[in-house]
């Protein structure tokens, strides 16, 4: 798989070319693999500490309308992420399938 090569993605544009999308693009119930979080040193570290590290599977549980926060499940824990935060987390969306 291509994303496993962990290339040096540095900006949004490059990332979007790699079949990846911000977490905010997932549908409710859809899963994705975290590729990278873009953002300040502190934010990226904090996301990693809460379990959102590259390669981990996330599932979008629900979202609020009007650029509201999102709730995701990662490593067996439900996390609420503000829209701004979530839009900085890039994932490779997985096909929607029956729980697997």
């Amino acid at each position: 798989m291509r994303f496993r090569n962990r290339q040096n993605f540095t900006n949004r544009k490059e990332l979007l070319n790699e079949e990846v999308a911000p977490l905010t693009n997932l549908c409710e119930g859809q899963k994705g693999i975290v590729i990278k979080a873009l953002g300040g040193f502190g934010l990226v570290r904090r996301l990693a500490e809460m379990g959102l590290t590259p390669g981990v599977e996330v599932k979008l549980l629900r979202r609020c309308p009007f650029r509201g926060p999102l709730e995701v499940e990662v490593r067996g824990v439900a996390l609420a992420l503000g829209y701004g935060v979530a839009s900085k987390v890039f994932v490779k969306p997985l096909r929607t399938e029956s729980d697997g």
């Binding site: 962990r6 290339q7 040096n8 993605f9 990278k36 979080a37 040193f41 502190g42 934010l43 990226v44 570290r45 904090r46 996301l47 990693a48 500490e49 809460m50 379990g51 590290t53 590259p54 390669g55 981990v56 629900r62 979202r63 609020c64 309308p65 009007f66 650029r67 509201g68 926060p69 709730e71 490593r75 067996g76 824990v77 439900a78 996390l79 609420a80 992420l81 503000g82 829209y83 701004g84 935060v85």
Partner: protein, 650 residues
């Protein structure tokens, strides 16, 4: 003499750490602050098997980096104060995330055991955890517990003592990273050992090396105190950059990923999914209460019924309390006047006793029940969901969803609400939140608004004032957010599953908030009361009335005497109504005057106790800034309201 032992409880938030702490220490707790920090410190003592054990409840954190003050406090306590043993409380239903923290504790080389908590909850989710296997994998004893029922607590203590006495030879797991990282850690560790021998007395050398690789600001900052610190730092910097170019991630992310990798491996190896989890009642409740459409009306109904319950029930309790205290005061007054001069009786009676009564009649009927209900909402897991729903709105004033919690606390008393702003991540966020919090009408102000506007004009007008207040908070918060430099922080918050709240924890939480009122606000209320009475007796108030007259009648259109309750309201807000009614009959005020009066009371700085709380949290400069802005705005809005309302209501 009993043998002494110090235990520290460490773990993530929402894992039942406080429940274990409460089980261990009962009500033998001292809750204060860490020295020099605005981080709460809870300590308790207990006696067990001939030991006197001091238990410290460290703040609930997810990592031992330097993201927050709580994390620094925790790791310094563990490394520097060296408790005899650490009990790492972990939530069995979220093993992977909890083990991430456990691995970091292991790196600190502290003697520890694990309380595998909420095993009942994990079982309900269909998960079974092999305790033996987990203990083997981590190299430390593991005791399964259910803190809320007390299951496993005495085994936990017994095990803690065994380890502390070193009867159990534990071989803690050594956390190993990938070879490219491990190589660099090893070299750096040797350098640290050689160059920073003194620093290694405080922390394990390997830990220092890892932290340096992680670009830990706190550790790096401390190296500056050492002669060869710069040299070590430069080398660490070089190693970290090398790692970053290999992985294309920042070094903290690389190391966090590795730790999570290990945590995940251990978690998977010890967990068996027995039955596939089915949709539980809690999950249905979760879906409903965070629903993008239904979530909001539910939130409104929950809050509205809470307020209705408190203020209708509270009014009844409050008036019956006042009645009984009134009789008591009468007795004291008549017996005192037998041997004391009249002015001394007045000071004691109208000053001291009224102050005590006022404090009690606010705290018991309003603040305590309010905080009990709020703690119930919080512990059940509803409050984080409310914060989730409110996130978008809070972003408009530069905050995020979590700020909703101190704002709601503010409706009880602003003092614990100001302290509650600590849940915000940065100093800027805390200040912005506090700025909004002090504008929230607390129970005392609600008593005034309901007692004046609500009683004489109508409940709908009182409600309108509340809605106006919310809009005002919103607009002002937005201005403050634009004016204050700095970047807003986004929401990253764990959503704990719904749980049945535990009575003991709810009571402890209620007490810890109410005590802020009792220790900070109560003495000030009493002192304020005495000063007020002394001023009244000395005739000083007349000067104030004439001095403030232009502002009062000219600008606000209020009777001149209202300056007394308005000025002294800063000592005790709930007193303003009583003071006013002593000076003039309340019925003589026009509707406009009542609204203007209530508006000013509602908006200008809550009370001296709140200013004191702000000072404690943010320092004098910011506390006085808040005070000044609020007073100026209250007068401005009051004057405008007077003019606008006079036009429309006459």
């Amino acid at each position: 003499m009993a043998k002494q032992l110090r235990i520290a409880l460490a773990g993530n938030a929402n894992v039942g750490k406080s429940a274990i702490f409460n089980q261990l220490t009962g009500l033998n707790q001292i809750i204060g602050n860490w020295p020099g920090k605005t981080v709460e410190r809870a300590e308790g003592t207990l006696h067990f098997k001939g030991y006197t054990i001091r238990v410290i409840d460290l703040p609930g954190i997810y990592s031992l980096s330097t993201f927050s003050m709580e994390e620094i406090v925790s790791r310094d306590y563990i490394a520097v104060e060296r408790p005899d043993i650490i009990i790492n409380v972990i939530d069995s239903s979220a093993l992977e995330r909890n083990l991430y923290f456990t691995l970091q504790l292991l790196e600190l080389d502290a003697p520890m055991i694990i309380a595998l908590n909420q095993v009942d909850f994990a079982a309900k989710k269909g998960m079974r955890i092999d305790v033996e296997k987990l203990s083997e994998a981590l190299g430390v004893p593991v005791v399964p517990t259910v803190a809320i029922s007390g299951m496993g607590i005495s085994e936990l203590l017994a095990k803690a003592i065994e380890v502390a006495e070193a009867k159990l030879s534990a071989k803690p797991l050594k956390v190993q990273y990938g070879s490219e990282i491990e190589k660099r850690i090893h070299v750096l560790e040797e350098i640290v050992k050689a160059k920073l021998a003194q620093f290694c007395m405080l922390y394990p050398a390997r830990w220092i090396a890892i932290k340096l690789l992680e670009r830990d600001v706190d550790v790096a900052g401390r190296l500056k105190n050492y002669e060869s610190g710069k040299e070590v730092l430069d080398y660490a910097e070089k190693s970290a950059s090398e790692l970053e170019s290999i992985h294309g991630e920042t070094s903290p992310v690389i190391i966090a990923s590795e730790r999570y990798g290990l945590a995940s491996k251990i978690a998977k190896a010890v967990t068996t999914i027995e039955v596939p989890p089915k949709i539980s009642l809690e999950q249905k409740l979760d879906t409903l209460t965070t629903h993008k459409v239904f979530g909001y009306p539910i939130l409104a109904i929950v809050l509205a019924s809470m307020f209705a319950l408190i203020f209708s029930g509270g009014g009844f309790i409050s008036s019956s309390l006042e009645y009984s205290f009134g009789i008591l005061k009468g007795y004291i007054e008549s017996s005192l006047s037998l041997f004391l001069p009249q002015y001394a009786v007045d000071i004691i009676d109208n000053g001291l006793l009224s102050g005590i009564v006022a404090g009690i009649t606010i705290a018991l009927p309003y603040i305590v029940p309010f905080y009990i209900l709020l703690a119930l909402l919080e512990d059940s897991g509803y409050l984080p969901r409310a914060a989730f729903l409110m996130d978008s709105l809070m972003h408009k004033i530069g905050l995020h969803g979590k700020a909703f919690i101190p704002l709601v606390l503010g409706y009880g008393c602003n003092v614990p609400a100001c302290i509650g702003c600590r849940i915000m991540e940065t100093e800027r966020e805390r200040f912005l939140a506090a700025f909004a919090v002090v504008l929230i009408p607390c129970a005392a102000r609600t008593v005034v608004i309901l007692g004046l506007v609500g009683r004489f004009i109508g409940f709908h007008v009182a409600l309108a004032l509340y809605i106006f207040d919310l809009i005002f908070v919103f607009v002002l918060g937005r201005v403050a957010f634009k004016v204050l430099p700095g970047e807003p922080v986004g929401l990253i918050m764990e959503m704990p599953p719904y749980k049945r709240p535990v009575v003991k924890n709810v009571l402890v939480k209620t007490w810890s908030r109410t005590k802020d009122f009792i220790y900070i606000a109560f003495p000030i209320i009493i002192a304020g009361s005495i000063i007020l009475e002394a001023l009244r007796l000395s005739g000083f108030t007349n000067y104030i009335i004439s001095a403030a007259n232009p502002l009062m009648s000219g600008w606000l259109g209020l009777p001149a005497v209202t300056s007394v309750p308005l000025i002294f309201g800063i000592l005790r807000k709930e007193l303003t109504l009583i003071l006013l009614s002593e000076l003039i009959p309340l019925e003589s005020l026009t509707a406009v005057q009542m609204i203007v009066f209530s508006l000013v009371i509602m908006l200008y700085v809550p009370c001296i106790a709140t200013i004191a709380a702000c000072k404690r949290e943010f320092g004098w400069k910011k506390a006085l800034t808040i005070t000044f802005i609020d007073v100026a705005l209250a007068l401005l809005i009051g004057g405008i309201a007077y003019r606008l309302l006079s036009l429309t209501m006459q």
